[in-house]
């Protein structure tokens, strides 16, 4: 018996089986959990299925939105579009977490969007919170984030000139005791984001009534 070892050494076959087994289990843990959660790598798509990929987040770098050098008159290569989006939100604290979501559109740098949104069912404007912001799309370590406005209100109108290529839009949160519908009207130079993609993770469908916003039920 060698110092510091088991009294009956395992036969070679069993030893190899254990080592191979350990390697397989370890690789399953690394590829299935650690790579998606720590490094945003998901070669087998396991992280997406288990939701572990969501644990990863790039470092956010704040973008200064107070200054701009964009010319006041601008031309764009293609025509503008207009969309109406109706977003149903459940009452505050709904266990499905359907009381809040994000809706964004894809915009190129310097593209412009004009918007108007409102929630009619809430008498108290302090019971509805929104965060108007944009961020770059990235798989790398950093993500640029621009915060345009964070406030409580039941309506807002305005215009946005995108400070960078990325997704831009709103996080809406219903803090009232009743379910509501957010009516969003947008026009300008942007693209809608397909349901499920980054910026429209909630899966909202544009230009349909609120009861069809999540697809046909």
């Amino acid at each position: 018996m060698t110092e510091g070892q088991i009294s009956k050494p395992l036969p070679a076959g069993r030893m190899l089986a254990i080592t191979l087994g350990a390697l397989v289990v370890a690789s399953a843990i690394v590829f299935g959990a650690i790579l998606p959660a720590e490094f945003n790598l998901d070669p087998f798509g396991v992280g997406k299925v288990t939701g572990l990929s969501r644990l990863w987040a790039p470092r956010e770098v704040a973008f200064d939105t107070s200054a701009s050098t964009v010319p006041l008159a601008r031309e764009y290569p293609s025509g503008f579009r207009s969309d109406t989006i109706e977003i149903p939100l459940r009452r505050e604290g709904d266990p499905t977490r359907g009381d809040e979501l994000e809706y964004k559109v894809r915009m190129n740098k310097d593209a412009t969007l004009i918007y108007e949104w409102s929630v009619s069912e809430i008498p108290n404007p302090e019971e509805f919170y929104y965060d108007f912001h944009g961020h770059t799309l990235t798989n790398t370590k950093e993500m640029t984030v621009a915060t345009y406005k964070q406030a409580t209100a039941t309506s807002a109108n305005g215009a946005l000139t995108a400070p960078f290529d990325g997704v831009h839009g709103w996080f809406f949160q219903n803090q009232s005791v009743s379910p509501v519908v957010v009516h969003v009207k947008i026009s300008g130079f942007y693209e809608l984001i397909s349901p499920g993609d980054t910026g429209n993770e909630a899966g909202i469908i544009a230009n349909v009534p609120a009861d069809k916003a999540f697809g046909e039920k």
Binding site: T2, Q5, I6, L10, M15, A26, V30
Partner: protein, 244 residues
């Protein structure tokens, strides 16, 4: 066996002390094992702000790094797993300590910079090595038995580089560098003793059970797996080029 009996009451005191220190660490939320094992947060800011000798806090940081360092702990567990005589435990742990102290001190003093992902990958490999060796793998599979004392001391050198990289990542101030570094080193040894006492206490009980030999195979297979996980994790970090 008489060796163990005599040291029993001493061990009980040690365990009580260690357990209370561990409990304190947990209560204070000091257990931060979520990410790759480094020194971070408020501890990093403390080190960066320190000018001059400040030995006790550095000792604490060293002890904390060891007690919460699952990579070092797994290796030590592997080393003592089948050491039945207290004398052997002392010899091996001393070899390991000498090894990591040399590279910890030399690494910091000579400003030797090693990629921390690579060092941590080799530390993972050391865990794999010891678990494989514990089950007699080298003799049965390769027909050769490496000298275990030399292996443990050599891996000690690697673990020391790991400690040195973590400490150097903190922008140590040249003022008070030597006493602080030695304080950290002493802390590492204290932390190791605390962890060792707990491990030995559990091992002593475990070895008395009838199924020990069988469960020992399973346990070492698990240590082997954990070693592979650590190794692959750190290699991935190196390949991705994530910031250490």
């Amino acid at each position: 066996m008489a060796d163990f009996r005599r040291s029993h009451s001493f061990m009980t005191c040690w365990i009580a002390l260690s357990a209370s220190i561990l409990a304190l660490l947990i209560v204070h939320g000091e257990f931060n094992c979520a990410m790759a094992h480094g020194i971070g947060g408020k501890d990093a800011s403390f080190v960066a702000a320190t000018k001059g000798a400040d030995i006790l806090p550095f000792m604490y940081l060293g002890a904390k790094h060891m007690v919460t360092g699952y990579d070092h702990l797994l290796f030590i567990l592997g080393v003592i797993f089948f050491l039945y005589r207290m004398r052997d435990v002392v010899i091996y742990v001393t070899l390991f300590s000498i090894g990591h102290s040399i590279t910890l001190l030399a690494g910091v003093l000579l400003k030797i910079e090693v990629n921390s992902y690579l060092v941590d990958a080799v530390i993972g490999l050391s865990v794999v090595y010891k678990a494989f060796d514990n089950l007699g793998g080298f003799k049965s599979v390769f027909g050769v038995q490496p000298n275990n004392r030399i292996a443990v001391a050599s891996f000690g050198l690697i673990h020391g580089f790991g400690l040195a990289t973590k400490l150097q990542a903190l922008r140590l101030n040249a003022n008070g560098l030597v006493p602080n570094m030695i304080g950290f080193n002493v802390g590492v040894e204290l932390g190791q003793l605390i962890a060792l006492a707990i491990m030995l206490a559990i091992m002593l009980q475990w070895r008395r059970t009838a199924s020990f030999e069988r469960s020992a195979v399973v346990a070492n297979a698990l240590i082997l797996t954990a070693g592979f996980v650590l190794m692959e994790y750190q290699l991935a970090g190196y390949l991705v080029g994530a910031k250490a």
